[in-house]
Amino acid sequence: MRTVIFRTIAPYLAALMVLFSIFVLLRGHNEPGGGFIGGLIAASALAIFGIACGVASVRRAIVFHPMSISGFGLFIGALAGVLSFFKNQAFMTSQWLIFDLFDVEIALSTPLVFDIGVYLVVVGAIGSIALALEEREAD
């Protein structure tokens, strides 16, 4: 959409949305949210960015093909559950690494990795759909 007003503001909006999406992703374990919703928000951001500034600039911005990102998400999502193999536990048994950093409890865990996988899958797949459609629309 060739309008200066939208084009100018869209990147900021998109950045804001991506930020928000990561926030939603990270706190999903404790509050409403999580990888899927976060991913949808991020994909929406990509869509807005794409509509405003063209698909090419989005593709440049995210470096990898969205489907590769999606594939990577699935990859780490599936592998996150394999860690438990080395502890003689069943597939997808969660592994937690909880420590304090400056008095803030940091919890790294396989469910988190898994949720990040979900996030990437959604961003990639839905983003890919949105971009592909947008590209077609722009034909």
């Binding site: 093909h65 489907m67 590769s68 999606s70 594939g71 990577f72 998400g73 699935l74 990859f75 599936a78 592998l79 559950g81 394999v82 438990s84 193999f85 003689n88 536990q89 069943a90 597939f91 997808m92 048994t93 969660s94």
Partner: protein, 534 residues
Amino acid sequence: MAGSSVSVDYAEAMITTPIAAGDWLIVAPSLITMVGGALCLMLRKNTDLQPKLGVFLLGLLVLASLGLLIRVLDQGVITMVMGNWLPPFGIAVTADPLGATLTFIGSVVAFCAGVFAMQTVSSSGRRYGFYPFLLLLMTGVCGSFLTADVFNLYVWFEVLLISSYGLLILGNERIQLDGAVKYGVLNLVGTNLFLIATGLLYGIFGTLNMADIAVKVDALDNPASGALATVAALYFLAFAMKAAAFPVNFWLPASYHTPNIVVSAVFAGLLTKVGVYALIRIFVLILPASLEYMADVIGIVAIATLITGALGALAQSEIRRLLGYLVIAGIGSMLAGLAIASSGTQATLAISGAIFYAVHSIIVMTALYMAAGIMGMMGSSFNLRELGGLYHKSVAFAGVFLVLAFAVSGLPPFSGFWPKVMLVDAAFQGGRFWLGAAILVSGFLTTLAMGRVWIYAFWRGGPEGTADGQSVDVTGAAEGQLSSGALWLPLGVLTALVIYFGLQPEWMIELATQGASSVVDPFGYIRSVLGEQG
């Protein structure tokens, strides 16, 4: 309980005994295909590497599923609960002889398809995901065969369904799009019915674990009535759609002939059988009372499927469509097994017949579609009017086709014969003579249909109108591909299996019997999943 820490007895929530590394074989099929599919997807632009990686991964899958099968035969039913949560709270994945057998056979077929596709799938097909689709299809298939959780079964159904969509439209030809619309919408309705039934089942029992449900159903006074009866009917309808049983099989003849032939081959081999598997799993293991209640309906459906499927095959002039109907007719046999299994002592025989038939059908239908693909390459057509002279073209191939044709018709000494005998035997023992007769009549019609294909495409000297006694030299458009071993190796392997299971059925009968016993008498299954509480 406030505070930063709380003391928890982990044993109340989790399995605390260490899991043997070998038990990981249960998830290995899903894991290999999923991680591999993801990997292929990440490398999607490297269209040269894709086939090699894909075939390697599928080979790995075959090994893993073989390992699993051996372990199951060795140790009995084995279970792994995802996340180590106690069953029925965590999702249990359980390999019993039934699931493990089908997983193994399915993997073999997928491997063969992967090899075949090296030759038939174009680089654009690879780029847009043939191997990821195939691998993830196998995730869905293996997941369905091995899961012990109804909702999880739904999820894997969806995985294999969406993969099949992808494979179906790969190429974007008009006919594919048409086929995909019907396939897509009708199958979606099917899975939604499945989901509805699962939702209702959860509403009734508050649990999703199959073994847990089986225990609860068993405890009911009247397990074939009330809302549970509706649930059973919905499950039957949903899986009958998946299995392409009459009269909800429209989607199959409308779509199976449209994609790349290797895709049809995989579909024909695997997809409908997952539906049959689910019917067996749900009805024999979980809802035996409903099975008894619905046996007549299932029997009628089976007969109609057997006959209409075979008649459909006779009505075709396009070999791929003809084969589609044969897939349907085969489903009728398996459903007959289910109907026969509803009561009496022959349940194990009937179900083992159905399992053996499923195995046979997986192999033979895949092989037949591959053969059809080669016929198309040789004769530049899939139409019986335009084909001819293939016998002269390659006697070896003609032989392979003939073996497959006899096998699919259930003639000895090939793989289709034994399950047919077992099913007819069980039908007669159970007093369901019509079912036995229908199986035989369907086999007869199939023989006729395949005989027609043979005389037109192979024995006739050329296309329709070729002078009597004359032979026309046919040169297919895709002739160049025919020298590729990627076409012949998988076809050869599958045909060899067809012959092997025909000549040496003992192993398969034994396997099928064990598989049948594990659902007919679910004690071992339930104990494996729920432990001592079961």
